[in-house]
Symmetry: C2
Subunit: 240 residues, 2 copies
């Protein structure tokens, strides 16, 4: 299976064959996007539900000064904006970070799938609750963690999320994020991100190289981050 959306939802609530087929159908006609392209812009009227099938994207807001703050990363399997059609305009933008394959599902279709299959509805709601937990964890990071702790914490989170969709190899995974993007996400400067990454590398915890991350010492990384995975609510504890 390489539909990460189905794989992810199946980790949230057990899906049967008919449910998987329904999700397969609903994501059948995805669109390709280049990197650095806005899928949704702040102020737009809300559109269909978006599902990332391949590639990464981010939610972000730009400040009057022109700097931007990334408020969430979207990786394969992630969806967004379940009920946003209820709003009159978007309060943030979404942009691809890599070339991406994304399905755009009309509200009616999603509602149909959710009402016909309880497990799909449950999985979608759980996914949303996890997303909220991730946002809360980001707030905690920004408010109370030093820069090195913040970077380490984000890497722990991303590692587990990538692992949930089966895209890790040992303690190694593809991370197509430039230091500039990391800085935008963590509320720091690119140069300071660079220094912190160096520190983590020298500490033997992890190393980023050419778009991929190697976790050299998971225990040390978790320790530096003060990481507690509870907020990701992975049923994987069973599965793993």
């Amino acid at each position: 299976m390489d539909n990460r959306f189905i794989q992810k939802l199946n980790g949230m609530a057990l899906l049967g064959a008919t449910e998987k087929a329904a999700l397969e159908e609903v994501t059948a006609n995805p669109t390709r996007f280049a990197a650095r392209q806005d899928l949704i812009r702040e102020g737009d009227p809300p559109g269909p539900v978006l599902v990332m099938l391949e590639g990464w994207a981010c939610r972000y807001k730009v400040m009057p000064s022109g700097t931007r703050q990334i408020v969430a990363f979207l990786m394969p399997g992630d969806s967004c904006d379940l009920h946003t059609k209820l709003l009159t305009e978007m309060d943030h933008s979404i942009q691809t970070l890599t070339p991406a394959l994304v399905a755009r599902i009309p509200r009616s279709q999603i509602e149909k799938a959710m009402s016909e299959h309880r497990a799909i509805a449950d999985a979608m709601y759980i996914a949303q609750l996890v997303d909220e937990g991730i946002m809360r964890a980001w707030i905690v990071s920004m408010g109370r963690r030093s820069s090195i702790e913040r970077v380490a914490h984000l890497m722990c989170e991303l590692y587990l999320r990538v692992r949930n969709i089966g895209l890790t190899h040992d303690h190694h995974f593809a991370l197509p994020l430039s230091q500039q993007v990391l800085a935008d996400a963590l509320g720091m400067t690119p140069v300071h991100i660079n220094r912190v990454l160096k520190e983590l590398r020298l500490a033997g915890a992890m190393a980023i190289k050419r778009g991929s991350v190697a976790i050299m010492d998971p225990v040390k990384l978790v320790q530096i981050a003060g990481f507690d995975e509870n907020y990701l609510h992975r049923r994987l504890r069973k599965a793993a």
Copy 2:
């Protein structure tokens, strides 16, 4: 009307008399809590939906070091944890900041009200989307705003939220938050909060005194904060 929950939801989606009655019924047997009492603790199994009818509370997480980060304020009319029953454990705690009156609604009752009244379901989902928007705005504040901008931004947000439930008087409203609590919410030190509040007072923008805030110069405050209210998605534009 003094049921702030109904008042708030009515600002999200127009409610008819029967819908208001249904909400009235569902919040009919609230419980009283003292200040500084945990309503929910991290690690607990999720319980009923909580609705604040009177008083303030906050969502928070405590760090290993013992410091805490507040990730959201709950004021009268706010509810929480619509679908949390789907999770196995809470990833954060909720604590009263003042004496409070809170209704605890079983999942079955909420689901019944939402399925029988489309407007209630819509309003609840809009409320949740607004809460998510607020979280994103907090992330932006923590990541990209200076301390004085952060404080000003939070005050703008709280002013509008309090106004939505009809509890402002002119440019003045009750804010039962100590500087310690503000510090926990904004990721700063109490002493620095204190200095920033002084600065805002001397600038003639706003002044906090004994549990209440006076907005002296709204334009200046908004300007300092770089505040854009779009993320609160208030239908009040029509109503106001």
